[in-house]
Amino acid sequence: MNFGFTEEQELLRAEVRKFLDQNASLEEVRKIVESDEGFDRHLWNRMAELGWIGLTMPEAQGGMGLGFETFLVVLEETGRSLFPSPLISTLLAARAIERFGSEAQQARWLPGLANGETIGTLAVLEESDDWSSSGVRLEGKRDGGETILSGAKHFVPDAGNAGLFVVAYRSGADPEAVSLAVVEEGADGVAAGHLPAMDLTKRLGKLDLDDVRVADDALLAADWAGVQSLIDLGAALVTAETVGAAERALEITTEFAKQRIQFDSPIGRYQGVKHPLAEMFVDIESYKSLVYYAIWAIDAGDDVAPLAVSRAKAYVSETFPMAGISGVQLHGGVGFTWEYDIQLFLKRGKWMRPMFGDADYHYDRIADLGGL
């Protein structure tokens, strides 16, 4: 029984925190998101050099071959600083290629993903906003040894910056006949862009596919169970990143409560302020435990993984958005001004809630998986 991080992992955490503190303070982050791309390609490349992007990718392809448990440490830190980057998206694309791609496919795409040159993303949802297999209606039509994709993918994270899309498409009549294709930006008929976002540190976009011809060597050998394992992973990674964001939101509000004087004493003296903060702490520590365990289970290939992920995501989807609201409320008048940082975390809460399934989806999933 060991529910803690190794010394190496703690060193990595310190390294990432130092990097982000120096390069991506919240003040800096506010500037970065004002740019067209919404992230800083220079910092992205430096993170790639430090090996953080390829951390979980195979060593043979330029990665470091480590587990998601180690990557967790990076994500908690990017969450803390609301760091804008296509990290989770790129990782999911790479994971798809690693698990369902041939050696040739891995060699073709993974090195570019690991070294930061290519930004990847996973495109599953369509207009129906349905994470089940029946939500995937984009048909892969066979035509002369190629597969033609025509339609649109919605709510695609980092769509406007991605060079590589791992696209879920319908491969047959069976409800679960869904597979994955790799589509590259710049190919004929591929158009993608960002949409106006509430949380400027996280961009969603749309991918339009207009008679895009995909050669067989760009099809991955995934079935619906495989796609679902990627959705699970996405939910786990988003939840892990939220742990960091939530801890920072709690810190910022706690600090405010210590500093802000009203009626001659800090507002943090009042139970009406301190008790909600204590409740936030209890929630954060609890979904932290849930997501750590889920990520351990993913790494260990344990059957409990999907259930563990859904429990964590249901908990965080239900509680963190309200924590953001509570944080703003406890700040009083200034909390909702653009100038104060707490509102950035409120927005992160709203972005996070539906990502890779909201609470309703995950409660239903728990039931489908044989849980309650």
């Binding site: 129906s128 906003d129 994470w131 089940s132 709510f155 949409l195 969603l204 749309k206 909702f336 989806y361």
Partner: protein, 387 residues
Amino acid sequence: MDFNLTPEEAAFRDEVRAFLDENLDAAESERDMNWFGGWLKKVREKRWVGFSWPKEVGGGGGTVMQQVILKEEMAKRKAPPLGSCYMGLAWVGPSIIQYGNEEQKQKYIPDILDGTYQWCTGYSEPDSGSDLASLKCRCERDGDEYVVNGQKIWTSIAMISKMMILLVRTQTDVDVKHDGITCLLVEMDSPGIEVRPIKNMSGGAMFAEVFLTDVRVPVENRLGAEGGGWKVTVSALANERSSIAEVYGLTRKMEELKDLARDTERAGQRAIDIPSIRRRLQRAEIRIESMRLNGQRFLTKQLKGEPLGSETSINKLHRASLEVEMGELAMEITGSASTLMQGCDEAPEDGRWAKFALGWPEVVIGGGTPNIQKNIISERILGLPKD
């Protein structure tokens, strides 16, 4: 108890309904600013702008019940506002009617009713917080003018206002801090006034900071007596006690939210049919209904001539949680599209719900945070000791 209308009240309700039938059937596409201008003209002709004000100043002289009926019918039909000088109608006009001299009434009231320009209210200051009377904005008399120096904050729509109703301190050596406060009517283009909008988390700005440096205000622009400004303010504040209007605003928003839940499909079913969503909508609706009825209980007190006290905090607390909850519900209903903002086809109803979900603090915190409302109830009504 009797919730029925008298024949006279029913007749007035029918009059309102007939007016709405006639004037609200314009197609949605026609509802642009021109349409709104026409609407304002028509309701002005009916004397429904400033309906509660005395007829001799140009108001409608409506009874309390008639005001309630008018507000209710307007809200039910989602009618646009009655008048366009928002702060003038809510705060400034009543103060001028009660404390202004004849000249002031003639100069300002017609423009407020016609919506010729906007007013703002210079009450709060950075350090005064909920303790309004502790204001410090300095004011010295110099001949026929007052000279004002200080800062105001949380001043709504200051950036688009032509006039401001301003509270200043004309006397500092007072025993009671409520004394020595004076109320001035100030032109916003006076030299020495700087307005800095406070950007909110939606990226817009409803409030502003107002900096006043050697601003000169003619003595005739004083409202009420020198040192008598607190009374002027309190009467304006009392005017805001009734929550009837708020309830109909919420009712209207609730109807729109239910429509959203009916029209949004989530994984093959209507959002309104998802049990967790439906139950939360139901709970919210019951709370709004209880606010409506609470409001009627308060109204009964008012009709009997009893003053309203801290019980108005009841509906304020309901409203605070409902504004948050309804925004969150809109987010959950619209799912992955919920955080898309205005300016793209994919954003539900062009991002208005996303904006709504960021808009509660101005409403909730503006009226005193929930914690303050709970203190008011527990200390003033339940008699628990102060913290």
